[in-house]
């Protein structure tokens, strides 16, 4: 129990910040907390959270791990679902979710193989897939349009009494917890912490990393599904901006960009933080001319808080 808590200590600053922002958001706008609004608010936050989760896996895997293709892949999935599957009548939950996940896994496999087998630096390997997916998206969907099937659009609202986006996040959390029971999460942190030590200890570094990229791909695909549900249509430009927000979200969540430190809880909180900041600045009617400045400052402040608490933690470690 103590160990479990200590392992999540890195996420405390970001969780506190998120709680604070939730409170401020709620104070500024009562309707923010009304149950009616949970679904749309969560739906707005979901792409931020899920893409940050996607980015977290390769970052944790270390070795300069990063997946720049997260955003474009989510966009590509959105385009393929709406512009390829729906017109062919493949618009049921099974084919759509199945296709999205398969696409994500395939992409992750490719990225992982390029990084681990061809040993190309992750940032350049995934910059390659970034460009390829952006091109493919335009190929599939020259301009925005189409419409998502009713079931998917409905999923961005409520499923039964529970908001659809919340259900999605719960499923993802359960999946991550389940991975914690296996050896994978420890292997991931080991490989990210020091790949040479992990390799020498007998861990299959390449396999662990490839799986990290597969997780990233599949989560990016889930983000693509989420876009499709929220937008109700497809748009070739929707995914790309999420690459940078996903990296920022993961970093805000206390993950070390050098790998091996942090976890999905932090990444999710980091993604939520980005959403809440934008939401807050909108609510507070910050002049649009200052919006970007405010976003940047909050980003800096958040990483600074993280860094300071981390430095303190490391100091106390060193002293012991």
């Amino acid at each position: 129990m103590m160990v479990a808590l200590r392992q999540r200590a890195y996420a405390v600053p970001v969780l506190v910040t998120v709680a604070l922002l939730l409170a401020v958001n709620a104070a500024l706008n009562r309707s923010f907390v009304s149950p009616d609004n949970w679904a749309p608010i969560l739906a707005g936050a979901t792409p931020f959270i899920v893409t940050a989760l996607a980015q977290a896996a390769p970052i944790l895997a270390g070795g300069g791990g990063i997946d720049l293709s997260v955003g474009p892949l989510a966009g590509l999935v959105n385009a393929i679902l709406v512009a390829v599957l729906v017109p062919r009548g493949l618009d049921g939950p099974l084919p759509m979710i199945g296709a999205a996940l398969a696409l994500g896994a395939l992409s992750g496999l490719l990225n992982g193989a390029i990084v681990c087998m061809l040993r190309v630096q992750p940032i350049i390997a995934t910059l390659g897939s970034f460009l390829v997916y952006q091109g493919l998206t335009l190929e599939v969907l020259p301009t925005a349009g189409g419409s998502a099937p009713a079931w998917l659009r409905a999923a961005s609202g409520r499923v039964g009494w529970i908001p659809g986006p919340l259900l999605l996040l719960l499923v993802l959390a359960a999946a991550w917890l389940a991975l914690g029971v296996t050896a994978y999460r420890r292997n991931l942190l080991a490989v990210g912490g020091d790949e040479r030590a992990a390799y020498a200890a007998g861990i299959d570094v390449a396999a662990v990393r490839i799986i990290a990229y597969v997780i990233a791909g599949m989560l990016a695909a889930v983000a693509g599904l989420a876009f499709t549900a929220v937008l109700g249509s497809a748009d070739p430009s929707v995914g790309v901006p999420y690459t940078l927000t996903s990296v920022a979200g993961a970093a805000l969540g206390g993950l070390s960009l050098a790998g091996g430190r942090g976890g999905m809880l932090g990444a999710a909180a980091g993604g939520a933080l980005l959403f809440l900041v934008q939401n807050l600045l909108t609510l507070a009617q910050v002049s649009i001319f200052y919006l970007q400045i405010a976003t940047g400052l909050i980003l800096l402040a958040a990483v600074a808080i993280n860094a300071v608490s981390d430095l303190r933690r490391r100091r106390s470690t060193a002293a012991a």
Partner: protein, 524 residues
């Protein structure tokens, strides 16, 4: 506990029976080059169950490369490895592990963010499949540590452990799975005498149980004490394998480096001439309290004196040295270098105190940079005008330093990581000397340095002392302390319990003081 069971087929087999069946592991004609460097030229070696087999050689002679080959990390260019008589090719360390070969590599490879338990069970699981639950993992880790006679809090992250404890964790990791051959690459270099003796006890038990151990060390006393057979590598070739009876130290040294230099290395047996201590105090530590309730420490260091710092791991000597270097602050007390009060690294620099950290690779060398850069980086201003380096001038200085320290490298432009450990250490010492220090604070500078190079470095330290540079030498090697130091301060429980001077200096006395005996009468 069952996990710690040996994989040996015939435990307790006697030596004659062992000769009849193929050796447990055999290397034949191994070759490997890295670019222009030939790391292994022609190495053959046989390892039988029930033996402790020592592997010695100068820095860069290929010991670690051979070990990495046997462990599935480096692939041979040619030659073959046989396991139980049949040829094997280990694709990765996991494959070697499955064949029962477990290894502690020269570098302490640990994961600082993970707990001791996780570090020990690392590599036993599949990529996803986990073999045991948390409780069973803890039991396994505890048992492995118990083999070495240590108990460490299993939930502690490795980042909080000292080097020696980290080293023990890596050994425990090797012991945790089923194994037949244990390879230890300079694993004793970070251990103190007590920890080392417990490790040796364990090794003797394993030998008795019929398992094999391949043991690398630069400490000839250790070789003499535990090795059944010793294989000597020279310039990537296995030049001989000797049984314990034939393997006396002069002979081994001769095999390692050629007879000429061996004689030189043996020359080190003559201790330093005593230094006059009246030449003026250059460093004064006064009332230093290293941790609450520890006794205060008072030590003076005179110009030209070599003062040794000794103690079991974690008894404060390292922290004391850090305080001297301005890297840590004592709870109480003052450190004065010349006239400067040392409170920070900057003060230490101003006081002319140069510090050599213990971990050469992590804190010392700039890996792909050249020898010239590594030597001069801290004093580039001396060779530059208007921020531009004057190459000829710098080259001259580098050449001089390399010659003086007898650095063996392809040239000043050779990348530092192509040098052997001992030569890297010489370069680092050279870097310190360029800062023209009054005090050298050295944290275990001979760690992992071969006897020949050590001899060079000893000479160098003596020569420095002769030029009135004062040396603080923290070392885990007792013979070294006895050989070099004018005085040795022995630490126990974060206080100095004895200061032995030249006349009183001997290994048994050092050990006694370190263990807290004879403290009273020797206190200065």
């Amino acid at each position: 506990m069952s996990d710690l069971a040996p994989m040996t087929r015939a435990p307790g087999m006697d030596a004659t029976a062992a000769a009849a069946i193929p050796p447990l592991l055999e290397a034949r004609g191994l070759r490997r080059s890295f670019g222009a460097t030939i790391a292994l030229d022609d190495v053959s070696l046989g390892l039988a169950g029930g033996e402790i087999h020592a592997l010695i050689g100068e820095n860069g002679s290929g010991k670690s490369t051979l070990i990495k080959m046997l462990s599935g990390i480096v692939r041979p260019d040619s030659g073959e490895i046989r396991c139980d008589g049949s040829p094997v090719r280990f694709a990765d360390p996991q494959a070697a592990r499955r064949a029962g070969i477990v290894t502690c590599f020269q570098e302490t490879l640990v994961l600082e963010e993970l707990s001791v338990r996780d570090n020990i069970v690392l590599g036993q699981d599949g990529v996803i499949r986990r073999c045991r639950g948390p409780a069973a993992e803890a039991a396994l880790a505890r048992a492995a540590l118990a083999e070495l006679g240590v108990a460490i809090d299993l939930d502690r992250p490795l980042g909080r452990l000292k080097l020696a404890q980290r080293q023990l964790v890596t050994i425990a990791r090797a012991l945790a799975g089923p194994w037949r051959l244990l390879i230890l690459d300079e694993s004793t270099s970070a251990l103190d005498v007590e920890e080392r003796d417990r490790l040796f006890d364990a090794l003797f038990r394993y030998r008795a149980a019929g398992r094999a151990i391949l043991f690398v060390s630069h400490r000839m006393d250790e070789i003499a004490r535990i090795a059944d057979r010793t294989t000597v590598l020279r310039s990537g070739r296995s030049v001989a394998t000797l049984a314990a009876a034939q393997a006396d130290t002069p002979r081994l040294l001769a095999l390692m480096s050629g007879p000429e230099e061996a004689r030189a290395a043996l020359g080190q047996a003559t201790p330093s001439p005593p230094t006059a201590r009246s030449r003026g105090v250059v460093l004064r530590a006064d009332g230093i309290v290293l941790r609450p309730r520890a006794a205060p420490i008072a030590l003076d260091l005179s110009a030209g004196e070599i003062l040794g710092l000794a103690g079991l791991e974690g008894h404060g000597q390292e922290r004391f040295l850090d305080c001297i270097a301005g890297l840590a602050a004592p709870d109480r007390g003052t450190i004065t270098g010349g006239t400067t009060r040392v409170r920070s690294v900057v003060d230490a620099a101003r006081a002319g105190i140069a510090f050599l950290p213990r971990d050469r690779k992590r804190d010392g060398i700039f890996a792909p940079l050249s020898v010239a850069d590594n030597l001069t980086i801290a004093r580039l201003g001396r060779f530059s005008r208007a921020g531009l380096i004057r190459r000829i001038r710098r080259l001259e200085a580098v050449r001089t330093a390399m010659a003086r320290l007898r650095v063996r490298a392809r040239g000043p432009e050779a990348a530092i990581d192509t040098l052997s450990g001992g030569n890297q250490q010489k370069v680092l010492l050279g870097r310190l000397l360029l800062t023209e220090p009054r005090v050298l604070a050295l944290n275990d500078p001979m760690r992992g340095v071969d006897p020949g190079a050590k001899h060079d470095l000893y000479d160098e330290l003596r020569a420095l002392a002769a030029t009135r540079i004062a040396v603080l030498l923290l070392s885990t090697e007792l013979p070294e302390l006895c050989l070099l130091c004018d005085r040795v301060a022995v630490f126990r429980d974060h206080a100095v319990v004895a200061v032995l001077d030249r006349a009183a200096l001997s290994e048994p006395r050092l050990i006694a003081a370190m263990f807290g005996h004879a403290a009273a009468d020797d206190r200065a």
